[in-house]
């Protein structure tokens, strides 16, 4: 199932072996661009702008969320989702909404909602809080309480930790190299393997490099979250970012960087750390304004285990892994929870301000746009690729300040994807439809699409795709006692068979074969009360037979066992053995034997056993 039309903010549901797994639940915020910015002070200019709807929280919420939710509900009830796997910090904004809705249905259905998330949720914890703070004041989308209750359902997991889901499937997160704690997921049973690759990066920035080896031998690879700007080179963009920043500051202007409070900002700060000294700008203050600025910076320092090797070895010295610690110590970088309070006292121009939200619709960034927009000395630099910068700026027009678009998106581009696929060689690739054709704006760029063999299977929003593999085997354990009692027969060279009769125990989706109980002692004596007591249990299965009976040997055996007067007739298909004395007829053919006799049980059983000697049982 696919619930999201946005390829970078996926929300897919995978049904696999009776478990339902939701893969990520991002909130598509681009529709915020249709709304007016929420300024600090009501500005008559803004409210008089035509063409933008006024803020209407509920309508807005319904628009972005209810659509995917309903389409899913039509197919399935949301509360049947057993587990939600989150791959990175940007992709769980919708989590509170999901949990709230399942909370509703929980009354009638057993609630099985356990959330597992990449290990650094404690790092990521600030960002939902941030969302809640901004969001709940702005448009009651979800309340703080709902966020907390959603977070309480989160279970933290570490890379390569194997988690059993109801004994049926095993999920394993792997480092994806995109952001601190971001992960790809492997969902596997004993015989099948589905990999979910979302927002991965092969570039070395700060997080642990992507784990590719474990993705090998997948039956299906689900690919989402590729770069949104396939034509831009992140390294070049960072360079451009720095030079533009320097230029503006030298001219006495201020720089505004709308960004999220974690993720790329760490890399930007690190670049600036090296750059400002060489550019002679060390006196320019950097401000980082976000309700979670402090915790975001602090948390980044203590997750050394999730960082790339370089940063890890720094900790061993011991030194803080990120240079922004030094920036803070030397007072070059200052962080504030908001523009109120201390910030207004310390504020000094020219300066560089990092703040959110990148859509320019809410958060402290709105204030800075209003403040600095009129001067052509100032510059706003967009680094987040999630929003179209032209649309984001639209309500602020006319704008005197310079606008520079340096999107930095380290996620996989198409060339890297083909390299990755070559390396990993999954049997099938599944990806959003958008990735299978060139972008509409550049339809001649055939290189901007996924190219693999066999062709990738694409899905569209609200479409259900059956994954092309059939499950044929399941793991079962045989108790050693039972295994000892098995008698294998070699049928063909290298292939042995053994008949197994055992009691099947199934618990928590794990199967175990135990030796059959000893047959109950036949009830002594002949105290039959009713005939029906004696009805045999037809559920005792008799083995199948195979092989054929050589007539001559069979006749010899019969003679040995005291049958005389045997007459053999040849027929079209086989032979008929006549035991004239007993009025018994045995038809022997290639694949069947038919014993026709009078109602003489003793005789029949004797004949049966003789025939069975020639046959193999299964």
């Amino acid at each position: 199932y696919c619930l999201s039309g946005h390829p970078t903010l996926p929300c897919n549901v995978l049904k696999f072996k009776s478990t339902t797994i939701m893969l990520d639940c991002g909130l598509d915020m681009t529709s915020t661009l249709n709304f007016l910015p929420l300024p600090l002070v009501q500005s008559p200019r803004l409210s008089n702008l035509p063409g933008w709807s006024l803020k209407d929280g509920n309508a807005f919420l319904d628009k972005i969320y209810i659509i995917p939710s309903l389409s899913f509900r039509r197919a399935n009830n949301l509360s049947t989702v057993d587990v939600i796997l989150i791959s990175n910090y940007a992709l769980y904004d919708a989590l509170p909404i999901h949990t709230r809705h399942t909370g509703f249905t929980a009354q009638c259905m057993p609630r099985n909602h356990q959330c597992q998330k990449a290990q650094s949720a404690s790092l990521l914890l600030p960002s939902p809080l941030k969302d809640a703070v901004e969001v709940s004041t702005w448009r009651r989308c979800y309340t703080m309480q709902e966020v907390n209750s959603a977070l309480s359902k989160i279970q933290l997991v570490g890379y390569s930790q194997k988690i059993e889901l109801f004994g049926a499937v095993q999920v394993t997160p792997l480092s994806s190299g995109y952001a601190l704690g971001s992960s790809n997921w492997i969902i596997q049973s004993h015989y099948e393997k589905v990999s979910y690759v979302s927002g991965s990066s092969l570039l070395t920035t700060h997080p642990q490099p992507m784990d590719q080896a474990s993705l090998k031998n997948s039956d299906v690879l689900v690919l989402t979250g590729l770069t949104q700007i396939p034509t831009a080179n992140p390294d070049g963009m960072v360079g451009e970012f720095c030079s533009n920043l320097a230029l503006t500051v030298r001219n006495g202007g201020n720089v505004l960087v709308p960004c999220y409070p974690s993720g790329v900002i760490y890399d930007l700060l690190e670049c600036l750390y090296q750059y400002i000294d060489s550019a002679g700008l060390s006196s320019v203050p950097l401000y980082f304004i976000s309700p979670v600025a402090n915790s975001s910076l602090e948390f980044s320092q203590i997750f050394a285990e999730w960082l790339c090797h370089n940063k890890q070895s720094k900790v061993y010295l011991p030194e803080p892994p990120f240079p922004h610690a030094e920036l803070i110590q030397t007072n070059k970088l200052k962080h504030y929870p908001s523009i109120h309070g201390d910030f207004s006292n310390d504020f000094r121009q020219p300066c560089v301000v990092f703040t959110g939200h990148p859509s320019l619709r809410f958060g402290d960034v709105v204030h800075f746009m209003e403040l600095w927009g009129k001067s052509s000395l100032n510059t706003v630099i967009f680094t987040e690729p999630d929003f179209s910068y032209l649309e984001a700026l639209a309500p602020y027009q006319p704008l005197a300040m310079k606008c520079i678009y340096c999107p930095i998106d380290t996620r996989l581009n198409f060339i890297q994807v083909s390299k990755l696929l070559k390396e990993v060689q999954p049997l099938h690739v599944v990806c959003p439809e958008q990735y299978t054709q060139p972008p509409p704006a550049q339809s001649h760029r055939m290189d901007l699409m996924i190219d693999c063999q066999p062709p990738a299977m694409s899905y569209r929003r609200a479409e259900v795709l059956a994954l092309p593999f059939k499950r044929r085997y399941e793991k079962i354990e045989i108790m050693p006692e039972l295994a000892d009692s098995l008698v294998p027969m070699e049928i063909k060279p290298g292939i042995s068979l053994a008949t197994v009769s055992a009691v099947l125990h199934t618990k928590d989706n794990k199967h175990l074969l135990q030796p059959p109980p000893r047959p109950a002692q036949p009830t002594s004596g002949k105290k039959r009360k009713r005939v029906s007591d004696d009805v045999p249990d037809c559920k005792v299965l008799k083995p199948l037979l195979s092989g054929s009976i050589p007539v001559e040997q069979f006749v010899q055996t019969l003679e040995k066992h005291g049958f005389s007067d045997i007459k053999v007739e040849d027929t079209a298909k086989g032979h008929i053995v006549l035991l004239q004395e007993a009025e018994t007829l045995i038809q022997i053919e290639e694949d069947s034997t038919h014993i026709i006799c009078d109602n003489d049980e003793m005789l029949r059983v004797r004949l049966r056993d003789l025939v069975l000697k020639f046959l193999q049982k299964f």
Partner: protein, 600 residues
């Protein structure tokens, strides 16, 4: 029969130089590689020549696992890997990897530079050794190679201490290292899931002690320190650089703040200071409270505690000094101890366990006249206090962990023989789990009976499960199938499928019995009578009367025919396949007895 073999090379009925060899399903793993603090000769390192007489260690051992950075668990590592020679992987957690080389270097300095020992490992060897280390995360499952996997659990003993689960197929061993079941001021409690290992190897340092509540001990400690400084005495607290030191620092720091005391607290320079820094960077390994508050205030930034200088020891007036090492066997703590020992106003508080042979052990056992190097005799007049702040699990904690993991058997190491004996009995009686306590060099062999995993075809499994869901599912049902063994691939399929896969034709064995019935009526009526008779007897079976006049019971076919010679007798042909043997046989004997009189 598969088995697990365990041989302690160190820490068998002893504390110190932990080193345990485990063979599990043909894989050899070495757990810890420690040194013994009580010895200064060959006995301080485990006897690695035991592992292989000739041949390289690398070929014999699949991996080495280090549980935490204490020297009695990692002290012999450079000797083992560089001087004896081992190139395979060494697994440890990130904090251990960070701190271990520093402690090793420190240890090396004391041994070589101060005692002038030759033939000791060098700094370069420590570095080379650390290059072989692979760091693991908590709960991360590391595939050492195809079959062998290890997984770390939080142990809480010191920063980065971990318990390890070693698993090959369905057999597993858990090694606890040192652990602590009660959370303290800076670390959380050890935790393990119900992983049901075949064997749990646990430390048993405090096998006989059940400690009173932590709070009481802390209050006691603070009271003693406070009293001593009030009357102008000096307090010496020998600690190891990491672990207790941080806990006690936090404790004293908060106490000093609350009581507004001005008496100086020092900790020995270098190590402890650096150690605090490690704690700051490895916050995720500490306890919840510190993790939650660290953004506002990092607990490891102390206000009242300053670095110690050697000259301070002679300062007049009260003071509190944390000095390394913890067992008073060498270094700064011993120096200070010598200076202060003569004054009864002073006090030394031993917050941890002391190995036999160390000065710490001697004074704790009541010795008041110590023979030092150079035949000097040191008279100890200062007060000696022992406070168990060691982060080892006590008897209760060990039992608790055994209960958590539910192992098939338990093996005790890292403890004194007498105490082990007591705990062994307790475990065997209370938990009904067999328990071992081998001495060094003694091997324990445990037979295991692993289940054999095979693949079952889904069709067969589903068929069986569907039938298992019937109301009378209580009755054990027999699953019937065929196991195909091809190379080392085991698959369980239904018999039909097996025949098909191997290209074998099924051989049908059919029986037809003639049953003579006395019945003058027509065949159809006879059939009808048979039908109603069978229907009444065989209530659980599917009895059907087919339009062509025949009767079926399940898949057994009955047909009535009238032989020409005698109209009064009907012949009933009962026909079944070998698979219906029981039913067919039953039917014939039933019908032989004749039909009940028809209701007229």
């Amino acid at each position: 029969m598969p088995e697990i073999r365990v041989t302690p090379l160190g820490a068998g009925q002893d504390v110190g130089r932990s080193c345990i060899l485990v063979s599990i399903a043909g894989k050899n793993v070495m757990l810890d590689c420690g040194m013994h603090m009580g010895f200064n000769d060959d006995r301080r390192f485990p006897d690695f020549s035991y592992i292989t007489q000739n041949g390289r260690l690398t070929d014999f051992l699949d991996c080495v696992i280090i549980s935490h950075f204490h020297l009695d668990h990692c002290g012999a590592l450079p000797y083992f890997s560089e001087m004896v020679g081992y190139d395979g992987p060494i697994y440890m957690t990130h904090p251990t990897q960070a701190i271990c080389p520093i402690l090793l270097e420190d240890y090396r300095k004391i041994a070589v530079d101060k005692k002038g020992e030759a033939n000791f490992f060098t700094s370069q060897m420590i570095k080379d050794c650390m290059k072989k280390v692979v760091a693991v995360h908590l709960h991360q499952t590391v595939q050492v190679h195809d079959e062998l996997e290890i997984k770390a659990y939080y142990a809480g003993h010191v920063l980065g201490a971990a318990m390890f689960q070693i698993k090959v197929g369905s057999e597993s061993v858990v090694y606890t290292g040192d652990y602590n079941m009660t959370p303290d001021r800076h670390l959380g409690a050890a935790w393990i899931d119900k992983c049901r290992p075949n064997l749990l190897i646990t430390e048993s340092t405090y096998a006989t002690t059940i400690r009173d509540s932590k709070r009481c001990r802390e209050r006691d400690f603070l009271k003693k320190v406070h009293e001593t400084v009030e009357r102008g005495g000096k307090v010496l607290i020998p600690v190891f650089a990491l672990g207790r030191a941080q806990e006690l620092c936090i404790l004293l720091e908060t106490f000093w703040e609350r009581m507004n005391l001005k008496v100086p607290i020092y900790f020995s320079t270098g190590l402890t200071e650096k150690a605090n820094h490690y704690y700051k960077l490895f916050i995720p390994w500490t306890n919840q409270k510190i993790r939650k508050t660290f953004v506002q205030r990092n607990m490891f930034e102390f206000k009242h505690i300053k670095a110690f200088d050697r000259a301070f020891a002679d300062n007049p007036g009260p003071m509190v000094v944390f000095a390394t090492p913890g067992m008073l066997h060498a270094g700064q703590s011993l120096q200070i101890f010598r200076k202060w020992a003569g004054n009864e106003k002073n006090m030394v508080i031993m917050p941890g366990y002391c190995v036999q042979g160390t000065v710490g052990h001697k004074i704790l056992s009541g010795q008041r006249k110590l023979e030092m190097e150079g035949r000097q005799v040191l008279e100890v007049k200062m007060q000696v206090e022992y406070m168990s702040f060691s982060a080892h699990a006590d008897a209760k904690g060990i039992m608790q962990l055994v209960g958590q993991a539910e192992p098939e058997s338990v093996l005790l190491v890292h403890g004194e023989a007498k105490k082990m004996e007591f705990l062994k009995q307790k475990i065997e009686q209370e938990l009904r789990v067999s328990c071992y306590m081998p001495a060094n060099g003694e091997t324990v062999t445990l037979p295991t009976s692993p289940s054999i995993p095979v693949g079952i075809s889904l069709g067969l499994l589903k068929r069986e499960m569907a039938q298992g869901l019937l109301p009378e599912a209580k009755k054990p049902r027999l699953l019937h199938g065929t196991l195909i063994m091809k190379d080392s691939n085991f698959r369980l399929v239904s018999s039909e499928q097996a025949l098909k896969e191997l290209g074998l034709a099924e051989h049908q064995l059919r029986f037809t019995c003639r049953v003579h019935l006395h019945d003058t009526r027509k065949e159809q009526e006879t059939a009808l009578r048979v039908y109603s008779h069978l229907k009444s007897v065989l209530k659980d079976h599917c009895v059907q009367h087919l339009p062509d006049g025949s009767v079926t019971v399940e898949s057994v076919l009955l047909q009535a025919a009238a032989p020409s010679e005698d109209p009064g007798t009907k012949v009933l042909l009962v026909s079944w396949t070998y698979q219906d043997e029981e039913l067919g046989s039953f039917l014939t004997s039933l019908l032989k007895k004749g039909l009940p009189q028809a209701p007229s």
